[in-house]
């Protein structure tokens, strides 16, 4: 897609996604505006605050167009130099350019960086390129063309057909075919239908929906209007986590602008279609990502799910037929309509078409958001895009699908990732979190972590989920303290199976996945905890004692410097010693040690 840059001007894009903001990008942005206003630069410039570029690890990112320069980890104090050298004279500032760890070369454009090279942006196509608060920016990149197209040239039935043909599957969790959902809703006899965008992204470690709502809100809105036309809905709701204040703000601006331009409201663009959108802020409940719970919440109730024997497409919000899709799904709709289903579906795998956004986090070098074709292998994502494991440690597992997903071991790194392969591996796509774990991650503790998370997030309505999680948590807490028996392990499995079969909603039915998948691939680790009172990863504090191997220790003192309780002692350049009586087993010394001298037993 062409970069729209005003002729003869330089465009400076400052990433203001959450990661960059936390790293100080507001200061950079303000400093830039101030200096450009004061500095007498002969080139005319304009500055934009964009959404998340995905490469949070290297933020704040500043891009200068049309020169196609990307500066990493820019601080406010660098701004003067950027203005004086790069903007005024076109000179590169070497130290702000990314240094490729393999070739040791500085790289000018982000397009030449491995992190971006392998990516294929569809849902994220505009993010980082446009000012999310500008509807004109969106329009300049084919925005609202798809809406024009459906209103002028397609019947609602044809739109539904097109979505079915694309093979688009819901990006929020289950992967249900979107077109089928729309068709089911359109087929129900009713005078009132609703459209919902599920922006209650709750998976810890996943933030792609946040990024889209913040960085390109109009694509979500355009997708929803097209959906409303296709199924005959008159009102739409975007349910956003209240914690996502920037998303709420940017969506609000976008809805107002869209109304002003006639894309929302009565008789949209002169057509018979009337449709409007309201934002509903979520209250902080993971279970509200489940669609019936989400609808209960919009209605002004506690967010408890109900049995879905009658689908929301038939009886949804306030009992009316309702289509509910997540943010990333809606973001794909305008692209499908614009380029046609066939072109969209030309990438991906047999059963999973298109691309998927993953949030690549954990013990990986390049953390951030990546969008790749379905069917890309885990190895490509983690090693080529992600740059491999932090501190050259050993890859152990990758957790996908959030608390409903599972852990996938090293043997399966060459697995092509799509909806079906992940399910087969005992995990799931979920919303696309990829959390990389190294050999310092304890899989029993990870299972305990997810069960603990779910115990607090379960709505508590149905018995298997509420009581099952309570019991599983107790058993896993015991395991992490070296207590427990084979009988407990058996009971853990029984509870898991009961939860899968009998729980009310998807949260409960999948809540045992983190336990079952770690049991399937890392049973040895469970047995080590139970039988030998040993945590092989050195994480479970009751089962771990840190000590320093005097052989590799160089006495650099980094460990003692970072120890919060002064448990490490030793003279400079001599082997250090940890006093187990003082040590709180936080592992900071091991994290800091450059020589692998800190060991556990």
């Amino acid at each position: 897609m062409p970069q729209i840059i005003e002729a003869g001007k330089k465009m400076i894009l400052v990433c203001c996604g959450t990661g960059c903001l936390a790293n100080g990008s507001t200061d950079v942005y303000q400093e830039l505006q101030q200096q450009l206003a004061n500095h007498d630069v002969t080139v005319s410039t304009y500055t934009k605050a964009t959404g998340c570029n995905g490469w949070c690890e290297k933020g704040p990112l500043v891009k200068i167009m049309p020169d196609d320069i990307t500066y990493c980890q820019v601080a406010a104090k660098d701004v003067g130099e950027i203005v004086a050298k790069t903007i005024a004279k076109g000179e590169l500032i070497n130290r702000l350019l990314y240094r490729d760890p393999k070739t040791k070369q500085r790289v000018k454009s982000h397009h030449q960086i491995d992190f971006y090279k392998k990516q294929h942006k569809v849902a994220l196509r505009n993010i980082g390129e446009i000012d999310p608060a500008s509807i004109d920016d969106y329009i300049s990149r084919d925005g609202y063309q798809a809406l024009n197209k459906v209103l002028q040239a397609m019947t609602p039935g044809l739109v539904v057909e097109e979505i079915i043909k694309s093979g688009l599957r819901g990006r929020g969790g289950g992967g249900f075919p979107t077109g089928q959902k729309w068709k089911a809703c359109a087929d129900v006899e009713s005078s009132l239908r609703y459209i919902i965008c599920n922006g209650d992204e709750g998976d810890p470690g996943a933030f792609m929906d946040r990024s889209i709502m913040e960085g390109d809100p109009h694509t979500v809105i355009e997708g929803m209007i097209i959906g409303a036309y296709a199924v005959g809905a008159t009102a739409g709701f975007i349910y956003v986590r209240d914690e996502y204040s920037l998303a709420v703000k940017n969506l609000g601006i976008a809805i107002d602008d869209a109304r002003q331009k006639g894309y929302l409201g009565e008789n949209i663009l002169g057509s018979p279609l009337s449709f409007d959108i309201e934002i509903v802020r979520g209250g902080g409940a993971f279970v509200c990502g489940e669609e019936t719970a989400l609808m209960a919440s919009i209605e002004g109730n506690v967010g408890e799910p109900r049995d879905k024997y009658v689908f929301p497409t038939e009886k949804g919000l306030w009992g009316q037929p309702t289509v509910i899709n997540n943010v990333e799904t809606w973001a794909n709709v305008p692209v499908i309509i614009n380029g046609g289903a066939e072109a969209w579906a030309s990438i991906g795998t047999e059963g999973s078409k298109g691309t998927k956004v993953f949030s690549l986090v954990g013990k990986v070098i390049n953390t951030g958001l990546v969008e790749v074709p379905m069917g890309t292998t885990l190895r490509e994502i983690i090693y080529e895009i992600g740059g491999g494991i932090l501190n050259k440690r050993k890859f152990k597992a990758v957790q996908t699908g959030g608390p409903s997903g599972g852990c996938i071991p090293a043997e399966m790194l060459d697995m092509a990732v799509d909806f079906d392969s992940l399910t087969e591996a005992g995990s799931m796509m979920g919303s696309g979190g990829l959390i990389v774990m190294d050999d310092h991650t304890c899989m029993v503790e990870i299972a305990r972590y997810y069960v603990n998370f779910l115990a607090g997030e379960s709505c508590g309505k149905c018995t298997p989920c509420r009581e099952g999680l309570k019991a599983m948590l107790e058993i896993l807490n015991n395991f992490c303290q070296g207590k427990g028996s084979d009988a407990d392990l058996q009971f853990l499995t029984d509870i898991s199976e009961t939860m899968q079969m009998m729980s009310l909603c998807a949260l409960g039915r999948t809540a045992a996945n983190p336990v079952l998948s770690t049991l399937r691939y890392f049973k040895d680790e469970y047995l080590a905890h139970i039988h030998d009172q040993h945590c092989p990863a050195g994480v479970c504090r009751d089962l771990t004692e840190f000590y320093i191997d005097p052989e590799p220790c160089t006495g650099c003192g980094l460990c003692s410097e970072h120890c919060p309780v002064e448990a490490v002692s030793g003279a400079k350049k001599e082997a250090h010693v940890i006093d187990p009586a003082i040590c709180i087993r936080c592992g900071e010394c091991r994290n800091q040690c450059k020589f692998d001298a800190v060991m556990t037993r």
């Binding site: 506690v302 919060p564 936080c586």
Partner: protein, 162 residues
Amino acid sequence: MTACIDMQDLSSILNRYPPEKRYILAIMQDIQGEYKYLPKAGLQMIADYVDAPLSRIYSMATFYKAFSLVPKGRINFKVCDGTACHIKGSKIIIDQIDKYLGIKPGETTADQEFSMETVNCLGACALAPVVVANEKVHPKVTSSGIIDIIKVYGGPNDAADN
């Protein structure tokens, strides 16, 4: 805890929305935003305003994590315990705050100075582990780094005996 609640302010928040049950959540969010907790009087006013039983409002107030029924401390530490933060050591940070301030997640110090809560995921996984003190994001916090952060906000210099 006997903070004076201005009824006028409360009803001006209510009046931002039509008196319908679907706006209960939005009203509660606005009150929480204003007072940093939900005062008891506020819940009763919502119940009367939208004509719903107080028990329903209370259910919602205790169900959704965005709400607190007790006032938070002057400095509220939100420790992210999302997965990325967890595997990079958020648990240690929680323990350290407990050790230095004597509060567990959900608790406030007796002098109303500090409170701590854990949050699920702030979507800032690249900066893990993250601690947010009121609005300020502290990225990549270590077990020793959190002690300095506590001190910056006027916390004690030495850990309480435990």
